[in-house]
């Protein structure tokens, strides 16, 4: 109702209402309650950057924030993994995953001593049948 009234009164454009609604719905997907405080602060920062320099400001903000995030490590594991640095697809943790019988390795960002998680050929019956 409020949105309708604001659009009818020509205070805001319909696109803005949709974007605000979309942002509101997306904010429910934040898994941790305390994380929403941090995100709120960043939201203000991006609004300020957008106000000052438009989309160029937002691009600057995202680039700087991403470069800081990509440098962060938590217990030796990159903060943005498995997306970047991209993880091996034959592990259980990668962004795009192989079929379950091909996931024989541990995630490479964990730097484990033994890289293999399972035996090399998981579906031995298939290969045994071929030999026969």
């Amino acid at each position: 109702m409020l949105g309708d009234a604001a659009v009818s009164a020509n205070i805001v454009s319909p696109v803005l209402i949709i974007i605000v609604a979309f942002t509101g719905i997306c904010s429910f997907s934040i898994p941790d309650f305390s994380l929403s405080f941090t995100l709120r602060i960043f939201k203000f920062l991006y609004i300020f950057l957008g106000y000052l320099f438009g989309f160029l400001g937002i691009a600057i903000g995202i680039s700087i924030q991403l470069s800081i995030l990509s440098n962060l490590h938590s217990f030796g594991v990159p903060y943005l993994s498995p997306y970047t640095p991209i993880s091996n697809s034959d592990s259980n943790t990668s962004f795009f995953q192989n079929p379950i019988w091909k996931r024989e390795y541990r995630a490479d960002f964990l730097n484990t001593k033994r890289p293999m998680e399972a035996a090399h050929i998981s579906r031995k019956w298939k290969f045994n049948n071929k030999k026969e």
């Binding site: 989309f55 160029l56 400001g57 691009a59 991403l66 990509s70 640095p85």
Partner: protein
């Protein structure tokens, strides 16, 4: 001592593709259309094949020098003096290219979106994130790039296929454009559109597995060839090649044709936003290379502090140009008469000399 960041094959392909795609965004299709006319697409296929053959030769020679870049190879071929000369040439090349990119993009944004903003502010806004990204190192640049590059590639694809409604196939005629000579002989100078190869010469020491060099080179050159071909093809079919010659951003011209119903208006802003990310990654990659070459030439231990004077030089350099027309003219000169000899003449000569010396040493 600084820790050397090692990149996986995907990260490296992402970085080299960024360099190549950035060139497409920066009006290279425009220059090619200007020189070849309606046969530009044939010209691209021709120079694409030559570039792939060139990469094949480079890979074969670089095979003998694993974990070494072209400056190291130059040292092996001609000693310290030769190494210094080659290092300075490449440093200036990357610096000038960065300056052109920043200046061009800032001036283009000034014309398109920020008519009342002083260009000095826009250039400063470009320098700031580039400086920070380059300071964090190659791993950070590649990580950020890996986040953006799928969207950038997707955006360019959407652009090509979204403008399909405006295609007029008669625009491909005459097939040989301005003539056979212009397409295949003088058109050879359009090889500068694979200028991103210069970035390949320095990637070797940063690879996790130096055997990946061949794979990375081929994949990145093929991706860039496909994108360049699509860009030229779409521009040629959508506009008369004379129209697209006059534009500042030839791809921007295509974005203005896109329409996704009445809801999304000025879609071009989304594309420009993605291209800005791409420019940030590309320029910070160039800055990183400059710092590393300088480190190699002077034997300093920490290269990160170099980012401050480098940013200052880039900033001052970007301010030199009065308007976008002058940048456009100088960029064209730089592409055809400076970058082309450096990449396609100087670098192979260095590699061949080193190869001969290597064979001689092996025999001895």
């Amino acid at each position: 001592m600084e820790k050397i960041d090692r990149l996986s094959a995907i990260e490296t392909i992402g970085l080299i593709t960024t360099v190549m795609v950035n060139q497409i965004i920066f009006n290279i299709p425009n220059i090619i259309l200007q020189s070849s006319g309606s046969s530009a697409w044939l010209n691209i296929i021709f120079i694409g094949i030559i570039a792939i053959l060139f990469v094949k030769i480079i890979c074969q020679i670089f095979n003998k020098f694993p974990n070494q870049d072209i400056v190291d190879v130059a040292k092996f071929a001609g000693g310290n003096t030769f190494k210094t000369i080659v290092g300075i040439i490449y440093m200036l090349f990357f610096l000038i290219y960065n300056i052109f990119c920043i200046s061009y993009f800032a001036n283009a944004l000034l014309l398109i979106y920020f008519p009342s903003t002083p260009v000095i502010v826009l250039i400063m806004l470009f320098i700031f994130p580039i400086m920070i990204m380059a300071k964090y190192g190659l791993k950070s640049i590649s990580s950020v790039n890996l986040v953006f590059i799928p969207f950038v590639l997707l955006s360019v694809f959407i652009l090509f296929f979204g403008s399909a409604d405006n295609f007029v196939f008669e625009r491909l005629f005459p097939i040989l454009g301005l003539g056979i000579k212009e397409t295949f002989l003088y058109g050879l100078t359009n090889l500068f559109s694979f200028l991103g190869l210069a970035y390949l010469f320095f990637i070797n020491p940063y690879l996790k597995d130096s055997k990946d060099f061949k794979k990375i080179s081929y994949i990145s050159i093929i991706i860039s060839f496909i994108y360049l071909f699509l860009a030229i093809f779409c521009l040629l079919l959508s506009f008369s090649f004379i129209t697209s010659n006059e534009q500042l951003f030839s791809l921007y011209l295509l974005t203005r044709l896109l329409q996704f119903g009445n809801f999304l208006q000025r879609v071009d802003a989304i594309f420009i936003l993605l291209w800005i990310f791409n420019t940030f990654c590309f320029c910070s990659f160039g800055c990183f290379y400059i710092m590393q070459i300088f480190k190699k030439l002077t034997n300093i231990k920490i290269s990160k502090i170099l980012i401050y004077p480098l940013s200052a030089i880039t900033f001052c350099g970007a301010l030199v140009f009065n308007n976008i027309a002058s940048i456009k003219y100088i960029t064209q000169f730089f592409y055809k008469y400076i970058s082309l000899p450096i990449i396609f003449i100087l670098s192979p000569i260095i590699l061949i000399l080193a190869n001969l010396k290597y064979k001689k040493q092996k025999k001895g």
